[in-house]
Assembly symmetry: C2
Homo-oligomer: 198 residues x 2
């Protein structure tokens, strides 16, 4: 079995902000993969507050230095909520700019290494949820076009209610450990992820 | 209480290689700090296989983009075992080059942000242990000179035997989850760490 180095690149949801266990979904699905016997080395490159535009400027260099000749390199992205967030009444990144940044990142990524995209999640802010859902649909269409498997977190996390309830117990945006565990559970069951790490 | 962003910078021991729980010591002491009520955002910048020389080339840029105006920035380094490791019978970095790289990193770091240095740990290879112990003593002297608190992992982890035994159950170098937990326990009790996060 060949070892695998996976760079998880994105925002605070990747870094696991407010998770009392400091794992986030990335740590949980990596630990689960190790538990199934895989030699996987996760690199968590989530940064709080970042939009797709900020991620576009740093991801490649950070991922480059984390490659190794002996191990396969893989990329998993997650971003979008900060793009759709309003600061002082102004959306941080308009949809066309988000989509352009996402296209730049994901097209370059998938031409280089196997790549997955995890869509942005819902939260406790109804108005923002509408913008996140719209952006998620645009990201899904982009990913279909460039053949990057897309996980629709927004739709996956709404039904159970665990995730959104957990964000309301934190800051209305970030989940607690229970919310991250729920997110990890649904990603870990995603066939595109399991194709990498059965 | 002001939030704190801590960059944990170093090698595979920082990234938590072979830890079934995907936390490493950095994740465990961060989770413990969150458990004590602190608003702490850890950024794990450990890369497997890196020497002090490799770390010297990337750490500043990676740490720069992880700062935020609203939160205090802190730096925690750990490296050394890869410097002292022999590959095809040749030490990867001679002590004088290790020390020069470490001085470059740590002097720049402490002039910028509050900084701690965690020394390299012992393992299951006796000959390498001698070289690691020698390098650890040199790093300790350097840190005294430039006023960076130094945690002597080598000396702290030998007595209980838990850590070294755990490396023998893995690959002779990296600990299991139990070994990382032991390392986290001793760092978490270190006054220099607790001065940041009581």
């Amino acid at each position: 079995m060949v070892g695998m180095r996976i760079c998880f690149i994105g925002d605070s949801f990747v870094s696991g902000a407010y998770d009392g266990e400091c794992l986030g979904w990335a740590g949980r699905i990596s630990a689960a993969a190790r538990g199934r016997g895989h030699d996987v080395s996760p690199y968590n490159l989530g940064i709080r507050g970042e939009t797709s535009l900020q991620i576009s400027k740093r991801w490649r260099q950070e991922a480059e230095v984390r490659q190794a000749a002996q191990q396969e390199g893989r990329l998993v992205f997650e971003f979008g909520v900060n793009d759709a967030r309003e600061v002082n009444g102004k959306r941080q990144l308009e949809p066309d700019r988000s989509l352009a940044a996402a296209r730049g990142i994901l097209a370059e990524a998938v031409a280089w290494k196997p790549t997955l995209m995890i869509g942005p999640p819902p939260g406790g802010d109804e108005a923002r949820n509408g913008r996140v859902q719209e952006l998620s649909e645009m990201l899904a269409a982009l990913c279909r076009e460039i053949s990057v498997p897309y996980f629709d977190s927004y739709t996956a996390l709404l039904p159970s209610g665990i995730f959104v309830a957990s964000t309301k117990s934190v800051d209305g945006t970030h989940p607690s450990a229970a919310g991250y565990a729920e997110w990890a559970r649904v990603i870990d069951a995603w066939p595109a992820w399991r194709a990498w790490l059965p």
